[in-house]
Symmetry: C2
Subunit: 455 residues, 2 copies
């Protein structure tokens, strides 16, 4: 009988994270400050603790995971690697489909893989309070969870419209002791300014980021820092535990390297977490197709140029070299909120440039259709973000059937969809649609890149 | 290092269910029909398929699990046995706390353990459609899931107030292809009658049961049956896979029998599923404290007499011998909806009479407090029903500390609370309260038992 759930023992949990930055043939361009010069670690010190900044700029290939962090991660890690035999049978494909099940963490996604180390390093550095922003609430609940277990206070600025529409995510954060406030709020200058001009605004991730950073850097006690859930190098680093575990698990059932590695990509962290350890093999000569999947409504990698841009709409971050649709691009309201980001992690963007990745984009309806096939075969209800990876998996499995090849496909099951059932309900009621890319708005948004430094 | 997650390999999944009915020193009293005589299997044939009726009345100790059912259960079984080391450390208890994690099934609870075999046996018997009722939606989503995987049509009558207040559970059922309609509905005589008298009624489980049974027995094709999620012997039988797995898992880490076994009990199925294989050891002389836990607001086992009563408010079921508060007793609106049942499974009730179990009752606020301790230590958010078991676990772990004894405690983590966050939010906002048992209403309800047959 085939093994459907492949576990690792606790002793086999990886003891080091893998840093892809150490292995590029050409180094990625550095982030730039307002003066157009590379950002120095000191400039980031009011925002992040120095131990995380060191990871952010590190060129070391392997970075030790402190035992205390592993002790916390044990609550749900090592995460199972599973084989989707029921989907394989349904598709009648010769492909073997493996997936790393990151939905088993208490907050329900891969996000705690970095939330826990971030909270722990802040605590080590003497920090007492973390601030962050959250859109749909996936990241906010992960950082609330991590702060509770590590012992930090946590304040989450949640985009007001989500705060009102997703009360359950808010409740999750409260269960783990976090303070969750709707953004814009009266607690920050940034929030008050916006409220003065637009008292009825639904808020935006851009405003929430501004508020969270301001709340961190203006705390005179010096004991507050800010935390980000994707995009940055150290976030991707922490997520590589996913791919490192998957490698051991595949080996334990006699598989060599997969032929195809797939993950959805919004900011890039779950995709990078699974794929970077395999990108390493590809750099060293292995043949593999590695696919980051994005929504056609927000086609950062497949349509956006690789250039310097701001990470946020308010232009508060350093300039980072990435695939971007322009920081003023506002994606249409697809339900995969975690994939509605104008940019892409610099390390993922650079790996695309180096020819290591083959990005692909899918429309929302095909993704929901794939999610329903998944629920009807494997049984579980996936997050709308994860459904993008599944759409690609199904396409590749069908291709393997046409070609008659027994390919090994590995993908990241980044989260469950139990907090996202509204989208499913609307899909089943025929109320969802695909959004053609608004070419005019995209060109408008790309214009804003012209005055920024070039690569 | 201690093992925190104890897995079984697929080959170690139990191949037989355990039937406690075979091992009682004194046999439990039979269900009675309207004529006061024991119900014959034939009388149940319009409601259930004969293969399940055979299980319902079986006296065989071990009943084979068909390989096709195991193949479906593999999606989430064997379920992990976990050790709550973080809670142990927090409580500074010498007790070792193990829990069977039944929250890992796609619908999020132990319910699919019986939903899958019920759907499968119906299909084997040539049935095409299943009907059932659901209150909060836990059972409805489990049977929708099972019907999807087995290939049956599924119609769920959902109590109207829950239908309106819990749209996410409804959405889950739809994802798995079930039809979910608010009860009372216009589809049945029972529903139409109620709507005529009370067009604005919020509905009740009693009405929904009546509708689901009527929809099954009046289908002239003969291809429709009814399905129940707890109380009945065959339901408890299917759940014993929980305890049988737990036994193997405890043994695999060198533990003998636990000192204390705990589970929450509404209809009794998750409690019986974990405990009955251990009750077997107790019958054979082992020393063990086995505790079914109920809410003080619905103290069926601790306050209700053991006598014949109807299983439903509408008096449509056979008379069953059980602990009961009277079929007209309506519990106060505690959030643990799955524990708001006036009766208790006949097999659990009989085991209490035989001195094998020691029921205990807890108030809602203590249970939520325990749930928050759990979320802050083990990390996960439990179902409000499960929090009753945890309240008892914490009490027993503290007692072990006082006594300085290294007791082994085993409990059933019957489900997660991700669909029940409203209750947590209300608790954190200070809006929940305890309900003293309404003595007058209880006495009134118990009066209705006087005219029924006696044990």
């Amino acid at each position: 009988m085939d093994l459907k759930k492949i576990y690792l023992s606790e002793n086999d949990i990886p003891r080091q994270w893998y840093n892809l930055a150490a292995d590029f043939k050409n180094p990625p361009p550095p982030p730039l400050g307002p003066d157009g010069k590379p950002v120095s670690p000191d400039m980031l010190a009011p925002v992040f603790p120095m131990n995380l900044i060191e990871q952010e700029v590190s060129q070391k290939r392997w970075i030790d995971i402190p035992e205390e962090i592993i002790e916390i991660l044990y609550r749900w890690r090592p995460a199972p690697l599973r084989r989707a035999v029921y989907l394989e049978n349904f598709l009648k494909t010769p492909a073997k489909i493996y997936y790393k099940d990151e939905s088993t963490s208490p907050p329900g996604s891969h996000k705690p893989n970095t939330a826990v180390p971030q909270a722990w390093y802040n605590k080590q550095f003497g920090i007492k309070n973390l601030t962050t922003e959250t859109g749909a609430g996936q990241w906010g609940s992960a950082i609330a969870f991590a702060c509770k277990l590590v012992g930090l206070n946590c304040k989450v600025f949640m985009v007001r419209i989500s705060f009102d529409q997703k009360p359950m995510r808010k409740a999750m954060m409260k269960v783990w002791g976090a303070e969750c406030i709707p953004s814009p709020s009266k607690e920050t200058n940034a929030g008050r300014e916006v409220l003065k001009k637009m008292p009825d605004t639904p808020g935006s991730l851009g405003i929430a980021i501004s508020e969270a950073i301001e709340a961190a850097v203006t705390d005179k006690s010096g004991q507050t820092r800010y935390s980000l859930g994707s995009v940055l190098n150290h976030v991707l680093l922490h997520q590589t535990i996913i791919g490192l575990e998957a490698k051991k698990q595949l080996k334990s059932v006699g598989e060599k390297l997969p032929d195809i590695v797939i993950g959805c990509a919004g900011g890039g962290s779950n995709f990078a977490g699974l794929s970077f350890p395999f990108v390493n093999d590809k750099i060293n000569g292995a043949k593999m197709t590695i696919i980051p999947v994005e929504p056609k409504a927000c086609p950062t990698m497949t349509r956006g140029p690789l250039t310097y841009d701001f990470g946020d709409i308010a232009c508060m971050t350093p300039l980072i070299a990435m695939h971007t649709l322009g920081h003023s691009f506002v994606p249409k309201p697809i339900h995969a909120g975690g994939l509605r980001y104008h940019g892409m992690a610099p390390l993922v963007s650079h790996a695309i440039k180096e020819g290591l990745l083959e990005p692909r984009a899918y429309d929302q309806l095909q993704c929901y259709e794939s999610a329903l096939i998944w629920a009807g075969t494997e049984g579980a209800i996936c997050a709308p973000e994860t459904s993008h990876a599944i759409a690609c998996v199904i396409e590749e499995a069908k291709k393997a059937k046409e070609e008659g090849k027994e390919k090994v496909i590995l993908f990241n099951y980044s989260g469950h969809g139990l907090m996202d059932l509204t989208g499913y309900e609307k899909y089943l009621a025929g109320e969802l649609k695909d959004y053609p890319l608004p070419e005019k708005e995209l060109q408008e948004s790309l214009k804003s890149l012209k005055d920024l430094p070039k690569l």
